[in-house]
């Protein structure tokens, strides 16, 4: 009997739980507020990047709202923490769409974005990814738009450059997650196509900053160049490379451009491709004043993505169309070219942006040349 009673009580509590779950932020918001969503990792190891992304978005919309909003409409972004996990992302997606009625959502990280892509197609919700670069994101959904090139584009540019410089043998150090493995796969494919040979590869776990064993093993293969696809922990990496005093060139992707690593003298001579996105000095200063951190690559990307949304919403409001996911999507492709922090064009779901080859020198990141990927 006790058991049956318990079950009844449990059922009551389940109902209560559902009610509580549904209570999120009463929808009695001000009429002229446009509400958007963002699903980013704000806790866990992914939070390093997620927090910067959140700040980029918040910073952009705060500025817009301070000036009275878009045609008088304030923009409010509801942030959801997905801990970089796909299942939490799906739950958050449904929550934002059903309860907050958001027409678009900012995402980052490949796994969560891929998990949400089918839902976005089905519900016609625009997903803007300004952080993840997995090649699979290119065709995951017509409603998933990437404002930065995929890793493959960067690898292609770098491979060509390396061969031109006479660096024909390479070793790969990659992070054992979607971003790192994607980059490794691209490199294994594209570097030989450009005429080079990959001698060795070694993985490290995300956030595991002791690279020494992997670096030692790779250097034993005596490559001309070490290609690095790692998203966090750059300062220990450059210091440990310096410690080894290795004879090879170190090359990487946009991920390499961690300001703290560039500032460290140990990074001298490292080259990397750089998805072009610059912040004017006054913007950087204001950002640093507000958050105490530099406006890094991800903050700039999401700031830029937020500005793209402002442009699209502005046009929709001018045309007096309702702000739905479908309209946002169509208008984005109708505008096609954007002048945000960097000029970009949407020929497909993935923006075409110039890619630079940079070299770290005496605490500065110097652009050697710029290429526009196909």
């Amino acid at each position: 009997m006790r058991q049956v009673q318990g079950v009844r009580r449990a059922l009551a509590a389940v109902v209560a739980g559902m009610v509580l779950a549904g209570m999120v932020r009463p929808a009695a918001a001000v009429a002229e507020t446009i509400r958007l969503g963002a699903i980013l990792p704000l806790t866990g190891p992914g939070a390093v990047v997620g927090t910067q992304e959140m700040r980029g978005i918040q910073f952009a919309f705060d500025a817009v709202n301070a000036k009275g909003g878009v045609q008088g409409n304030k923009i409010d972004v509801v942030f959801e923490d997905n801990q970089a996990k796909p299942d939490v992302s799906v739950l958050s997606f449904n929550k934002l769409v059903d309860l907050q009625k958001v027409p678009m959502i900012f995402t980052g990280y490949s796994g969560p974005s891929l998990a949400m892509a089918p839902l976005a197609t089905r519900k016609k919700i625009l997903l803007i990814n300004a952080g993840a670069q997995s090649d699979k994101l290119r065709n995951a959904s017509p409603y998933l738009v990437n404002t930065l090139p995929s890793t493959g584009d960067e690898v292609a540019v770098m491979s060509k450059y390396l061969i031109q410089q006479g660096k024909k043998t390479a070793a790969v150090l990659f992070e054992n997650d979607a971003a790192g493995i994607g980059g490794r796969d691209d490199f294994l494919d594209l570097f030989p196509k450009a005429g080079g040979t990959v001698l060795a590869q070694e993985a490290v776990q995300f956030g595991q900053t002791d690279y020494r064993p992997a670096l030692l093993k790779l250097s034993a293969a005596k490559p001309d160049v070490l290609y690095v696809v790692i998203t966090a922990g750059m300062v220990p990496l450059v210091q440990q490379l310096k410690q080894m005093n290795a004879g090879f060139l170190v090359a990487g992707t946009t991920f390499m451009a961690d300001p703290a690593a560039i500032a460290d003298p140990a990074s001298n001579g490292i080259i990397h491709t750089q998805v072009q996105i610059d912040a004017p000095p006054d913007l950087s200063t204001a950002f640093k004043a507000k958050y105490g951190d530099d406006m890094d690559f991800f903050a700039r990307q999401y700031y830029n993505a937020a500005q793209i949304m402002v442009t699209v919403i502005d046009k929709l409001l001018t045309e007096k169309k309702p702000i739905t996911g479908e309209n946002l999507h169509d208008t984005l492709f109708a505008i096609r070219s954007f002048q945000g922090l960097i000029p970009m064009e949407f020929k497909s779901n993935t923006a075409t942006v110039p890619i630079g080859i940079n070299k770290m020198e005496n605490g500065k990141d110097v652009t050697l040349l710029k290429v526009t990927a196909e």
């Binding site: 939070a47 390093v48 993985a203 956030g207 064993p213 922990g233 080894m244």
Partner: protein, 287 residues
């Protein structure tokens, strides 16, 4: 000579890990509490030292203050949490879950205060390199080895040569008997967790000095240290230290034969197999 550098790197990592292992072993052997929150104390030490160092405090002062704070935090966890649970006659499982809760609290207080970015210590001297034949070590690495071995020697001296150390070992071997002889185990427990926390603060500062700070970064070192403690035989400080060094060396050298992404998996695989065939550890005394 790749293997030589790998071996030396393993010894460096292992020395720091060994100190984590002996601090945990000291606590576990005495209180029998599986103190997972120890990983939080370990992480806290680094952040405290970083706060002070980046505000211009001398490096040594930062280290000592961090050690002092961790001692207090450890004592508080024992006195406010574990002792209360003990009075309520909580099972092992309950204490373990409470400890997991305490770990979550410490980690997220850190994450909320410092953000979850990887932080670097502002110590330019740390990455300076010394060359010994074909082996190259940073100053931080050299300091890590020296201080870790000193911490091990100090702990051994403390446990075997001081009255308090002997009392602790008495309580560890038989809390009931110790109670009759009026050693007051609960008081000893607080002292032991405090001392263990002070010891773990050392690698807690030294390792991030080399590799950077992360709020959620304490769990893997603690688990590996736990494995070392069990494999070394619970109650044996030397066993815990030696096994920790051994595991770190093996993890480093294993790269010569297996891809690096499998090294953690292989470590735990060997451990699981080991537990099936020799569950009392290599250094355990015959009973």
């Amino acid at each position: 000579m790749v293997w030589l550098q790998l071996l030396v790197n393993g010894l460096v990592t292992g020395a720091a890990l060994g100190v984590v292992a002996i601090s945990f072993a000291l606590i576990y052997a005495t209180t029998k509490i599986f103190h997972v929150a120890h990983a939080g104390v370990y992480t806290l030490a680094g952040y405290l030292a970083w706060s002070l160092a980046s505000r211009g405090m001398p490096d040594l002062v930062s280290l000592l203050v961090a050690i002092l704070c961790c001692t207090v935090v450890g004592a508080l966890i024992q006195h406010q949490l574990y002792a209360r649970l003990e009075r309520r006659r909580a099972t092992h499982l309950v204490v373990l879950i409470a400890s997991l809760g305490a770990l979550a609290v410490i980690q997220n207080v850190i994450a909320a205060t410092y953000s979850s970015n990887i932080l670097q210590f502002p110590v330019p001297w740390g990455s300076r390199v010394e060359t010994f034949g074909s082996v190259r070590l940073t100053w931080t690495q050299i300091l890590t080895v020296v201080l870790s071995v000193a911490a091990y020697a100090g702990t051994m001296w403390f446990a075997h040569r001081t009255i308090l150390g002997k009392q602790i070992r008495a309580v560890a071997s038989n809390p009931f008997l110790a109670e009759i002889t009026r050693l007051r185990p609960q008081r000893i427990y607080v002292i032991v967790v405090a001392i263990g926390s002070a010891i773990v603060a050392l690698p807690g500062v030294l390792v991030p000095l080399d590799l950077g700070l992360q709020p959620y970064g304490g769990v893997t070192p603690l688990l590996t240290a736990t494995i070392a403690m069990i494999a070394g035989g619970v109650g044996s400080i030397t066993g815990a230290f030696v096994l920790a060094v051994g595991i770190a060396v093996l993890q480093n050298l294993s790269l010569l034969v297996i891809p690096g992404e499998w090294s953690i998996g292989v470590t735990f695989f060997i451990f699981v197999i080991f537990m099936l065939f020799r569950p009392t550890g290599l250094f355990a005394k015959a009973r």
